[in-house]
């Protein structure tokens, strides 16, 4: 029986490898909060152009942090826990890191846990308005089955 010619195997693997290299976005932030975003239906849109999107996380701290921080909802910007006042500086910093032509299209993705109360959310929203970062996306999971 003739042996199977495996000489093109590396090329095949490389092709698959390149695909994954392309689509990979290394997760740059570890979220120390437990966030379960709300579930929506038909109105949920996919976010395109990730380079325009900055994230603000709001939710109760994850298990490791609960001993020190309690379970009251916290805001996380990049790696750090923050207060609503810090949102404005965060927006400015994020905006500075963008290309000039992209700045007006900056989007803030608000990843907020379902059980958070509106108080903290409103505080953040007011800060975003002050910082002129008015394009927000209420991050949510899409349920295709829901009408």
């Amino acid at each position: 029986m003739p042996e199977l010619n495996t000489s093109s195997l590396p090329d095949l693997i490389f092709t698959v490898l390149f695909f994954f290299m392309m689509v990979t976005s290394m997760r740059d932030v570890t979220v120390n909060l437990e966030i379960k975003t709300p579930v929506g239906g038909s109105e949920i849109e996919k976010l395109e152009r990730k380079s325009l999107v900055s994230h603000i996380y709001i939710g109760p701290p994850s298990k490791d942090y609960r001993a020190t921080l309690g379970s009251a909802p916290r805001i996380q910007l990049n790696e750090f826990f923050a207060t609503p006042d810090a949102v404005r500086d965060f927006v400015h910093a994020e905006r500075e890191s963008m290309f000039e032509k992209d700045k007006p299209f900056m989007k803030m993705s608000l990843k907020i846990d379902q059980n958070v109360h509106m108080g903290i959310v409103t505080d953040v929203k007011q800060e975003l308005r002050k910082a002129k970062a008015q394009n927000v996306v209420y991050s949510a999971t899409k349920d295709d089955k829901r009408k």
């Binding site: 693997i13 490389f14 929506g40 109105e43 949920i44 849109e45 976010l47 109360h117 959310v121 927000v136």
Partner: protein, 200 residues
């Protein structure tokens, strides 16, 4: 020592596959193909002088949706003033926005010029005011936003079907969609949270 015609031995490539396999597995593991999705919104401009000023609008043009700290939804407009279930909200909102029966208690039809289309009669001045309490649950707030958005997109679909013979999503992005959006433009206003459900 042999002269000249020595054959260069081929590089042993049998391990290339293994190496690329390892790389492949690495990227497979680290890849998070999480496509972020959500409900896009535009927050109103921040104008410190205008915070206390309530914009004067005719009563018939306003629908208030209040979500109190017990997560109960209360809707008030010209024809309805009661607590509702979230499942009713979409139809109530659609009836309010479109005012199909030309009800004098619901938003008035006014001439409105849509760029690139012409003057239309639409309820351009209607406002949906969404009010929440600081203790309102975010999920309820989100679902209310979702239902209101759905009311708009269903109305847009209906109007696009009537006018252009196709759904909003199939309309041309540059020319037709802005017209449809102009006819039924999103007028959800979010005011500051107040303490509802407590002594007022």
């Amino acid at each position: 020592m042999g002269k000249g015609k020595r054959k260069v031995p081929g590089l042993n490539q049998s391990s290339t596959a293994d190496i690329s396999f390892i790389l492949l597995i690495f990227f497979l593991v680290t890849t998070s193909m999480d496509t972020d999705s959500g409900l896009p919104r535009r927050l109103p401009d921040w104008n410190p002088d205008e915070i206390e000023q309530e914009v004067k609008v005719k009563e018939r043009n306003v629908m208030t949706v209040q979500v109190n700290k017990f997560n109960e939804i209360h809707v008030k407009n010209g024809v309805i003033n009661r607590s509702i279930d979230i499942s009713e909200l979409k139809e109530i909102a659609k009836y309010f926005i479109a005012n199909p029966d030309n009800n004098p208690d619901l938003p008035a039809f006014e001439d409105y010029e849509i760029e690139g289309y012409g003057v239309v009669q639409t309820t351009v001045k209607h406002v949906i005011a969404l009010q929440t309490d600081r203790d309102t649950n975010y999920d309820v707030y989100f679902q209310v936003q979702h239902e209101l958005t759905k009311a708009y997109s269903e109305l847009r679909d209906e109007w696009a079907q009537k006018t252009f013979g196709k759904k909003y999503a199939q309309c041309d992005e540059k020319t037709e969609q802005p017209v449809v959006r102009g006819y039924y433009s999103n007028k959800i206003s979010e005011s500051e949270p107040r303490q509802y459900g407590t002594a007022q």
